[in-house]
Point group: C2
DNA sequence: TTGTATGCGTTATCAG
DNA sequence: CTGATAACGCATACAA
């Protein structure tokens, strides 16, 4: 009826609880006879170690918290899959906190760190919640953490991501190579670091081509498809329409294309579009979206590895960011236009 | 340096640890003076209860496991959001297990139930892993669980979902009302219960309209966009092409439309399409997709409420399924066609 | 209303 | 190689 404990197993195997524990943790230190008796008893009783007791005794949770702005965003969920893969290989559980970009919710999840439910944290949300900032100087007492994708302004925590500036440059250069001169940029939310980095890349590429790209070539968005749709309307109202646009992410690009399509403006014939992220739907979209592909699984795996190292103390808290490679994926939305559809 | 314990707080407040514990759990039973002293000490020390110790003592994890086939699928992630909302309101943590539709991974996550990391489980994966089936007869010993969206064949566990048969009928009737007679159906994976239910709805609607709908009107898919693309090729090769198709989910519909578009066949002009689920991208897609909308948040919330009830013993294990309402959302993919695009 | 004492199930230390 | 035993931090039964 009740779940078997280590004591039950010990009794059945005719050994002490210590031996049972040892058999389960380091089988090599117990005699073969004892080991077999224990394993047999474990099988017979169906014994499983009680996680709470272990955590209490060992003062660790064998779990890590992952803070993500939106689980539903496939961009994040593939990173999560990468994280999960290495976490579970290391015997760690992951606690996913969907923060909906809300600081209150972030703080809320961080209590898992304080009450010992999690041993460390992976930050995908581009910001350090206040309560964590407070611990930064402490050195110890400071929770093991790694940022992914969205770096912090101050580089105070190990980070795994891509070089967004360079990737954005790649995207814009692609449009330039296609012969476009009037290239607009649809930005993400103003306070976001990705927005700033991708904007910088856009500017750098335009400057390198000797093309002025002032405020008038910038549209404001917030990474949602809806904001892309609004930007489309702005774009339509422009006195001199661009022939191409680089969008700071794929959702906005799709929202934009969708509304343009509704107004009779076709992509790529009337406007070439490049997105960013290469989300799953990018290639199913009509037109299939030219975009920057990020190695999402790798980002997750790499970051989890770093966190593991931090947890064993193998890795320093201060550290140069690990930048993985992003690449341009050319699809239909920047194709040369034969005949208008 | 070290994290404060209940003992530290007690000492500082000049009371016993029992009083501290009581203050935190049922403030009304301790005197105001004691309570204030304790709360003051808690603030001063920054004390937080240790979850492992609580779990060990109370023999529960205050956590539930949620098994989902694919977190990245927005269909599931919105359900998750609903679950999370009520779970966190009830002070429970959710452990998300992305099973990738792999029984081995399911079993793997279920160890959380046995080792006491989770108190119950929410199943979104449409199947009962073998180790759970084994416990079904036990009554007690059987873990509290609720299925969501995908029911089990035998109704042995509380379930929250929609009436898929009726919803599919709704979709097909919409096409019939539009005047379509040759209506195909793109199925999901053969062994999936949703596939069977939606197929049944399709058949029922066709039969009610007196239209024969045999095997020749059925295309095989597996819920992925790729399989939708393959189905498009099959469809193109058909001797008598249908004028409309009902797809068992949105991803397949999009994959299908995308490939058709590549072959010069336009939706809705050459073929009307209805999907199922109303995933986030359905309305941004070109053409915007007519589909069946499921109340995803509600499904999650409702299911979590049921599980909570199961956990307090308020609810029976055996129970009629809770069926929430799904509705048809009419968009461009079944629009009347003025001029070919 | 409060305090004392016990045990939740493990693991690590320390003798043997 | 093995066993006894003391924590780990907390919540509750019981006594006061």
């Amino acid at each position: 009826m009740k779940r078997p404990t280590i004591g039950d197993v010990a009794r059945l195997a005719g050994v002490s609880t210590a031996t049972v524990s040892r058999t389960l943790h380091s089988p090599e230190v117990v005699s073969e006879t004892a080991r077999n008796a224990v394993l047999e008893a474990v099988r017979y009783t169906g014994y499983t170690q009680n996680a709470a007791a272990q955590n209490l005794r060992q003062r660790r949770a064998k779990a890590v918290l992952v803070l993500v702005p939106d689980i539903g965003n496939t961009f994040f969920s593939e990173i999560l899959a990468g994280i999960e893969r290495v976490a579970s290989a290391a015997g760690l559980t992951i606690l996913i906190g969907d923060t909906a970009n809300d600081v209150r919710r972030e703080e809320d999840f961080l209590r898992y760190l304080r009450n010992g439910r999690a041993d460390g944290v992976l930050l995908l949300n581009g910001r350090l919640p206040p309560s964590v900032i407070a611990t930064l100087d402490e050195g110890a007492g400071r929770p093991p953490m790694v940022t992914i994708s969205e770096a912090l302004d101050r580089q105070v925590v190990p980070h795994v991501g891509i070089d967004n500036v360079a990737a954005a440059e790649l995207a814009v250069r692609h449009l330039l190579d296609l012969g476009h001169r009037r290239i607009a940029h649809l930005c993400g939310p103003a306070d976001n670091i990705l927005t700033r980095q991708r904007l910088a890349g856009y500017r750098r590429a335009m400057a390198a081509a000797g093309i002025p790209a002032g405020r008038e070539s910038l549209l404001a968005g917030d990474f949602t498809a809806e904001s892309g749709g609004r930007a489309a309307l702005e774009l339509l109202a422009l006195p001199e329409r661009p022939s191409a646009i680089f969008c700071s992410n794929d959702e906005m690009a799709m929202g934009l294309i969708s509304v343009l399509h509704g107004r009779g403006m076709a992509v790529p014939c009337d406007l070439s579009v490049v997105g960013f992220d290469d989300i799953v739907f990018a290639k199913t979209y009509i037109p299939a979206l030219t975009t920057i592909h990020q190695p999402r699984s790798d980002l997750g795996e790499r970051a989890m590895h770093s966190l593991l190292a931090l947890l064993d103390g193998t890795l320093e808290q201060q550290q140069a960011p690990a930048l993985l490679e992003a690449r341009l994926v050319v699809r239909e939305s920047t194709a040369a236009c034969r005949a208008p559809r």
